[in-house]
């Protein structure tokens, strides 16, 4: 049984179909990277899986359990808030903008959900938090407040915070898109380390070389649909669909250049 099963999921924002019948299975220990142009529905997909957005159709299962709905006298009905919260607590989410809680110290950011959601004893939660912060290389920053950290450090705390509740699956929503270029690698190396440790993950990213390196399976999305899915070699070396070929050619040209070179080039062409 897959850890996560996404079946024909549809999501509309007004007239725009953000997700148009998406299917995806993620198995235990598998790392799935999702690539595609802006507005292709990649972020919407992970936000829907985490039930931060409601879906209009289809179904999603976590360890075989239907997400967000239950059967009641032969009819489906939405789960009450408390049960939805409990389901969310079994998944970890890392946001583009980090979204650490600015009024708490780094340590409390990592402790709080363990105690409040999973009922762990405070000392136990504290030990786990210290262990995780050490793992992401921030053992010395436990008492700092989020605003005192760099973007890369904040994102690593956010990863530790998501890991603290021992999620069945980690969801990354463009974890490096808000970072200065020189801070991207420290976050990616933490994610890579998690992948090697056997964590089940979905990673939405614009970092093509990383998407290839970390993935067991890669998914290409466009206009709310999964256009192509396969091993990194299949996706990046032998793209089948013309759309993926076009996307990669546009991208690979840019990805091999450093930001400085990109600026120089733009200046010379204008």
């Amino acid at each position: 049984m897959p850890v996560l099963r996404v079946r024909d999921v549809r999501k509309r924002f007004g007239d725009h179909a953000a997700l148009d019948g998406v299917n995806l299975d993620v198995h235990e220990g598998e790392v799935v990277t999702v690539i595609g142009p802006s507005g292709s529905g990649k972020s919407t997909l992970v936000r829907c899986v985490h039930q931060l957005e409601s879906i209009d159709g289809g179904a999603m299962y976590l360890d075989g359990e239907l997400l967000g709905y239950e059967m009641h006298r032969g009819h489906l009905r939405p789960l009450p808030d408390r049960k939805v919260a409990a389901q969310r607590g079994r998944m970890g989410m890392v946001f583009q903008q980090f979204n650490l809680f600015p009024h708490w110290s780094v340590l409390r950011n990592v402790i709080e959900a363990q105690v409040a959601v999973h009922g762990r004893r405070p000392e136990e939660a504290r030990e786990e938090a210290l262990r995780l912060l050490k793992r992401v290389g921030l053992a010395g920053k436990t008492d700092a407040h989020p605003r005192q950290l760099s973007g890369g450090q904040q994102q690593r705390v956010a990863i530790a915070r998501a890991l603290a509740t021992q999620p069945r699956i980690m969801l990354f929503d463009e974890p490096t898109s808000a970072l200065d270029p020189e801070l991207v690698d420290e976050v990616l190396s933490v994610v890579l380390d998690l992948a090697r440790g056997g964590m089940t993950m979905i990673i939405v990213t614009h970092e093509m070389s990383f998407a290839r390196e970390v993935a067991d399976r890669c998914v290409f999305m466009e206009e709310g649909r999964v256009v192509e899915t396969g091993t990194p070699e299949e996706i990046f070396d032998n793209p089948a669909s013309p759309r993926l070929q076009a996307f990669l050619s546009r991208f690979s040209g840019r990805a091999t250049r450093t930001p400085d070179e990109r600026i120089l080039e733009e200046e010379s062409t204008s």
């Binding site: 039930q51 919260a85 607590g89 970890g92 946001f95 903008q97 989020p146 915070r161």
Partner: protein
């Protein structure tokens, strides 16, 4: 071209002379001196009379009543205000709409008018009863025995205050970044936990400063209850000067106490702001 010395160091520069500042400074000084002269030399201020009444037991009792009304109005008004704000932010339209109408009505009617209205409720509604709507009545009291000047004052000030607090709390909650709510829900917090642990503490930074101002303006607003014969600070002063005709010195006593309390409140407000300002990005 004029010759400049080879080595220039701006540290040796002298301040510019700014004649207009001198002019305004002198004008200000003259005005202050004139006002001070007026305060000291005009015998009608009767400073000694003001001094003797400053700690008069009746006036202190009035001050106590003003403070009591302020605290009660603020506490009840804040509780009701938070509920109204939650109602206005609710996705259940009838509730959001009803709370919006409440705020519009009670913020729109002057508090003085509301006080007089509540005080005269007995005319509109001779009896107050508990029972099933449109059905049988269980208990009933004559309105005039329930609505004293105290209850009218508390009801009027609370309902008025709640409308303002609702807007302040709502603005505070809306000012919290949406990503914070997402993150709180993503951690598995319930809606209630995410509001109490994440949204409200961050909203406080926006809520506290205007709440302090509300507290101060409510204290001053309590002087309105003197029109419904409520024995607050202003009313106590009026009772005395209606008898002795020492109007100015007694108003000075009232002013002095209002200023003392407002100054203390302002200091408290500043400390609260510092407390809730931490963690600010």
């Amino acid at each position: 071209m004029s010759t400049t010395p080879q080595v220039v160091d701006v540290a040796s520069a002298r301040p510019r002379i700014r004649p207009l500042r001198w002019v305004f400074g002198v004008v200000l000084l003259v005005l202050v001196a004139q006002f001070a002269w007026f305060l000291v030399t005009n015998p009608r201020f009767e400073w000694s009379v003001a001094g003797t009444y400053l700690f008069d037991p009746n006036i202190l009792r009035g001050l106590g009543m003003s403070l009591l009304l302020t605290v009660i109005g603020m506490v009840l008004g804040s509780v009701l205000g938070v509920l109204l704000a939650a109602g206005r932010l609710s996705d259940f339209t009838p509730v959001a709409w009803a709370c919006g109408v409440y705020v519009a009505v009670f913020r729109g009617i002057p508090p003085l008018v509301q006080l007089i209205f509540w005080f005269n409720l007995g005319y509109l509604l001779p009896r107050i009863s508990l029972g099933v709507p449109f059905g049988p009545t269980f208990v009933s009291w004559p309105t005039n025995s329930v609505i004293s000047s105290l209850t009218a004052a508390i009801i009027g000030l609370t309902l008025h205050e709640a409308a303002y607090m609702a807007e302040i709390v709502r603005a505070g909650v809306l000012a919290v970044d949406g990503g914070q709510r997402d993150a709180a829900r993503a951690m598995g917090f319930t809606a209630r936990q995410s509001f109490v642990k994440v949204v409200l503490p961050q909203a406080m930074r926006v809520i506290v400063p205007p709440t302090g101002s509300q507290f101060i303006s409510l204290l001053k607003g309590t002087s309105l209850v003197s029109v419904i014969a409520m024995a607050d600070l202003l009313y106590s002063v009026q009772v005395i000067y209606n008898r002795t005709y020492e109007i100015v010195p007694l108003l000075i006593v009232a002013c002095a106490w209002y200023l003392v309390v407002v100054t203390v409140l302002s200091l408290g407000q500043r400390r609260l702001e510092q407390h809730f300002g931490k963690g600010q990005r």
